[in-house]
């Protein structure tokens, strides 16, 4: 029967091609669109986690309420002891202390608000991959009075590698403090809100600059299972409360309120969108298959007249559907993965648009990238095959039941 199915397919090439084309296109679109959507969403959440909040964040309870002002006096003193307590939790894989401070840079008669971050370079890069994002120069080293500056910020200030920037700021206790920092590296995360207003300096230089000996303003924590972050956050808070009752607050990445809210909306919108597209795509496959089988009533009549039994006819038709479905889905998946690959590597570039904007508080990349995921490709493929076969069932049933004479009579 396989052979019959096979021959049937090739007998009417045009029909097979048309059917297959429909399926292939639907699968292709399903694959690349989903890759793009997942890519964008993952990117957004990924950026948020890596650059703004980690999986879990520890803050001084007094800091939380006034976070927008970055109040240095509400810090985490003796942070190494705190990190030790946190690291004892088996779910924690990495703890990274940082100091975030606001600076008003004077530039061409304008006061530019920028954000400085004191980091331990080796640790921070395990989270944010800063070392890989350096596009000019090198990453800062602990113990040196140097900085890494965002590419857009550098451009706006007219600064280059090797230039020294004097950062003047207020310490945790209101004194004026300043430091000359040499730009040893320029970075680009591809995220506008970081590249436009951030610079990094070593933690051990930020501390004396801001009168924060042994202290940090926040601790990023990485956990084994990020979906479980809220649980771990609660555990950590409990263990911290034992030593420093009520002093610290932990926040899981899902608790970033405003940001998370907007991103959830984005995800829901895109998810719904994709659902609609998928619906249309599967409908197209169904429709085409249906039509294809319908058209072959005469053929079917002939098969019956030749002695094939009802059930056999149905099986042949289904086999054909499966064959065309498989080949077409495969082709569609290949095309789809091709487009996905292009979108994953090159992406859709909005750099020009983003640079012109004011600062967006979203960790939005300015290049939209798809993910290249075998899972998605496979899913698209399976969907194509599945729908092809499922679509063929009703007309196959109908055709199989027909009287040969009836079938032959059809024009």
């Amino acid at each position: 029967m396989f052979r019959i199915a096979f021959r049937n397919i090739f007998r009417n090439k045009r029909r097979s091609v048309l059917t297959g084309l429909s399926i292939a296109v639907a699968v292709m679109i399903a694959v690349y669109l989903w890759s793009l959507i997942v890519g964008i969403m993952d990117d957004l959440f990924d950026n948020m986690i890596r650059l703004t909040c980690g999986h879990v964040r520890i803050l001084n309870t007094d800091y939380v309420k006034r976070e927008r002002m970055m109040p240095l006096e509400a810090n985490i003193p003796d942070y190494l002891a705190v990190e030790k307590i946190v690291a004892a939790n088996p779910n924690v894989t990495l703890t990274v202390g940082r100091i975030k401070f606001g600076v008003l840079l004077e530039h061409q008669d304008e006061n530019k608000p920028v954000i400085g971050v004191g980091i331990v370079p080796e640790n921070e890069s395990q989270i944010s991959h800063l070392d890989q994002k350096i596009i000019q120069g090198r990453m800062i080293k602990s113990g040196q009075e140097e900085m890494n500056i965002g590419v857009i910020l550098a451009r706006e200030l007219g600064l280059n590698l090797g230039d020294t920037l004097t950062v003047i700021t207020q310490t945790a206790y209101g004194s004026i403090s300043a430091m000359n920092l040499k730009i040893v590296g320029i970075f680009s995360f591809g995220v506008q809100s970081i590249d436009k207003i951030t610079f990094y300096i070593p933690l051990d230089k930020a501390q004396p600059l801001l009168d924060l000996d042994n202290a940090v303003t926040e601790i990023f924590i990485y956990v084994k299972d990020k979906d479980n972050a809220p649980e771990v956050a609660k555990e950590i808070k409990a263990s911290l409360d034992q030593v420093y009752p009520g002093k610290y607050t932990t926040k899981a990445w899902q608790d970033q309120e405003v940001l998370y809210f907007y991103m959830t909306i984005a995800r829901n919108v895109y998810g719904f969108l994709y659902f609609l597209v998928l619906f249309l795509a599967s409908f197209t496959i169904l429709n085409t298959m249906f039509m294809a089988v319908l058209e072959r009533t005469k053929e079917i009549g002939m098969m019956k007249a030749l002695g094939m039994k009802n059930r056999q006819v149905m099986v042949v038709i289904l086999l054909e559907a499966m064959l065309i479905g498989t080949i077409a889905s495969f082709i569609g998946a290949v095309w789809g993965s091709g487009v996905a690959y292009y979108l994953a590597t090159k992406g859709i570039d909005f750099t020009a648009t983003f640079e012109k904007m004011g600062t967006v508080n979203f960790p939005l990349s300015y290049v939209y990238r798809a993910v290249f995921s075998w899972g998605i490709i496979f899913f698209g493929f399976c969907m194509g095959v599945l729908f092809s076969v499922v679509a063929a069932i009703p007309p196959a049933l109908r055709a199989a039941k027909m009287e040969p004479t009836e079938a032959l009579r059809e024009i």
């Binding site: 209101g174 004194s175 004026i176 009168d211």
Partner: protein
């Protein structure tokens, strides 16, 4: 005979004048205060103590001043602030930070910020014009403040460009030195209170050696200025009041 009536008239006028002089106007009082608080040159050695909630920060500095127009200040302690210098010439102010060897002009938004984290803003420190130039003075009452009888004078801005729309000063009736000053916003809300005390005699003048400034909008904070040593009318070389001296 004619001389005798002249004498009588003179005698009478002499008796009357103390009564006249007792009824001072606001303007006159302020003028006297201004006169007392003004000096040609001075050198202060002071300590600034900033209280914010539970925190106490002590800073010592030395200041050279020429009249109201020029002043040069250098911080001596604590180590983090040592070597920080301020220069004021007329309405301009510069700051020198030894850690980066840079002179920064304090202008625009920075002027509104608190100086070294204290209850004084840079603007407060820049105030140099005579009060009467910008304010209209009115004597409103008399009060006794800490055993000292005072004139209470209300100063209301007479020009638009002032920092504090209204001020109220308690002036010691005997010494003609301010004991307390309240600073108000246009709405009448009290913003800052400064009390002065510990008057010491320096030659013919009295000068307060203790000041407390309270910024009422900051939580639990006050700043004390304690003058440990002051010299008036000494010779100060002109070069001190130049930007070059900031870098030395």
């Amino acid at each position: 005979m004619r001389y005798r009536s002249l004498l009588v008239i003179l005698l009478v006028s002499l008796m009357v004048s103390p009564v006249l002089t007792a009824e001072k106007t606001g303007d006159e009082i302020i003028r006297k205060v201004d006169a007392n608080m003004t000096f040609d040159t001075a050198r202060f050695q002071s300590e600034m103590v900033i209280y914010i909630g539970e925190e106490v920060r002590r800073k010592t500095f030395v200041s050279y001043a020429k009249g109201r127009t020029n002043s040069f200040t250098e911080f001596l302690s604590p180590p983090r602030d040592k070597g920080v210098k301020y220069l004021k010439i007329e309405d301009n102010m510069w700051m020198y930070l030894p850690s980066v060897e840079k002179i920064i002009k304090i202008a625009g938004h920075m002027l509104r910020q608190s100086m070294m984290g204290s209850d004084f803003s840079y603007e407060d420190a820049l105030e140099s014009a005579k009060l009467l130039e910008k304010y209209q003075a009115e004597l409103v009452s008399e009060e006794v403040l800490e055993d000292s009888p005072c004139y209470v004078i209300d100063l209301t801005a007479r020009v638009k460009e002032v920092t504090y729309y209204r001020r109220r000063i308690w002036v010691d009736k005997n010494l003609f030195i301010p004991l307390k000053e309240e600073l108000f916003a246009v709405s009448g809300k009290k913003l800052k209170v400064m009390t002065l005390g510990n008057m010491k005699k320096f030659g013919t003048r009295f000068y307060p050696t203790y000041m407390v400034m309270r910024d009422l909008l900051r939580k639990n904070s006050k700043t004390e200025m304690i003058i440990s040593k002051v010299e008036f009318d000494l010779k100060i070389p002109e070069e001190i009041f130049t930007q070059r001296s900031l870098k030395k």
